[in-house]
Symmetry: C2
Subunit: 220 residues, 2 copies
């Protein structure tokens, strides 16, 4: 018995002697799982491969997590959230800083993981939520803050749909990755910022300019 380190109670009748859990194994296993997620994706990730990469036995995995899905979800949740925000003086420079950060090693890693999860995402709502919270949301809130500063600065007109704007870069990067198989590099990211994100952000807000879309519905 004594399974899981998840959200359960925890104490109850504890040990009566015996070796204690080596928490370094948790870290090694989660890291192995994430690396493999980025390399081969969820469907092709095997428990044997995780164990082998972490130099662990499969017993050690199943003592901690019920199954593959739980291991993956917990590994994703163990990632640290938002990296940090640039804060130069202009919208364009802020966007370039974001482009730099997103195409850093860590950003590329996140992109690979996301793509590796896509097939599983299509049929598992819990995985979708984790991916949204751990990858999309932090990246998008970075954009949001940049846009909000630009609005306060007067560089952008008010009335823009910031959710849409913040999702623009991730969407184009995802498409590029899926369709070409190559990761977006810094040059590509900057190009998107200059030719899509920045012009759209500084264009007059659609709702004001046209008055046509009175719906007011927000994106998920």
């Amino acid at each position: 018995m004594t399974r899981d380190n998840g959200a359960g109670g925890g104490d109850e009748l504890r040990h009566r002697g015996g070796r204690s859990r080596d928490s370094s194994r948790d870290l090694a296993l989660r890291e192995a799982a994430l690396d493999l997620l980025a390399e081969v994706g969820y469907d092709r990730l095997t428990m044997d491969a995780v164990a082998a990469r972490a130099r662990a036995g499969k017993t050690t995995i199943y003592r901690r997590w019920q199954d593959k899905a739980e291991l993956v979800v917990d590994s994703l949740n163990s990632l640290k959230g938002a990296p940090d925000i640039p804060d130069t003086g202009s919208l364009r420079q802020d966007l370039h800083a974001l482009a730099e950060e997103i195409t850093s090693a860590e950003g590329k890693f996140g992109a690979r993981v996301t793509v590796g999860m896509v097939s599983a995402l299509a049929r598992d709502a819990e995985l979708r939520q984790v991916i949204r919270e751990k990858f999309m949301a932090p990246r998008m809130t970075g954009f949001r803050e940049v846009f909000e500063r630009a609005v306060a600065r007067g560089e952008m007109s008010d009335g823009h749909d910031l959710d849409l704007l913040a999702g623009l870069f991730p969407a184009l990067a995802l498409q590029q990755l899926v369709m070409s198989g190559e990761l977006p590099d810094t040059e590509f990211a900057r190009q998107i910022m200059d030719e899509a994100v920045y012009p759209l952000a500084t264009a007059p807000a659609a709702r004001i300019a046209t008055g046509a879309t009175a719906g007011g519905k927000t994106y998920g």
Copy 2:
């Protein structure tokens, strides 16, 4: 012997009697494969399921295609290309017509298939090319023509990156589908057109407005 109906030679020493291939089985099998692709994706598509759905034996499949990958590629290639172009008088109305068409039953089917292929796309360049040619390209050329007409009409300034513009909607729709698990409906599509595609298309071209990006590199 006598395998494949692919790109091979074809005639050689023909029949010396015997039952002839029933071409209606080809159609039924390809249709079953495409339906299953849209429903469960490439990885979870099984040959038994294809055979069962087409009320065929697996023998009948393997007499025509070498393996699963070949069946899928051939099925995708059997799809008809571009549907057709609207041709109203204004850019905005053209875009709304595109939104309608893309969220039609056929368009939704294409979206499902594309998402179902994503995981396989990450590791198979041939599949990537087929998807690009059969799904992305036709949709994007529809956009291109709409934009070119708008430029000719004077509704858009010259100098825009039409590849980027044409890819904008597919990228946002793909993202929406992946992240929410729901297909984009007509309202959502129109919203994207009004708040992203149209404003960006009618904004001054980035290259002219800024003069900053002198690269001139094109997207895949």
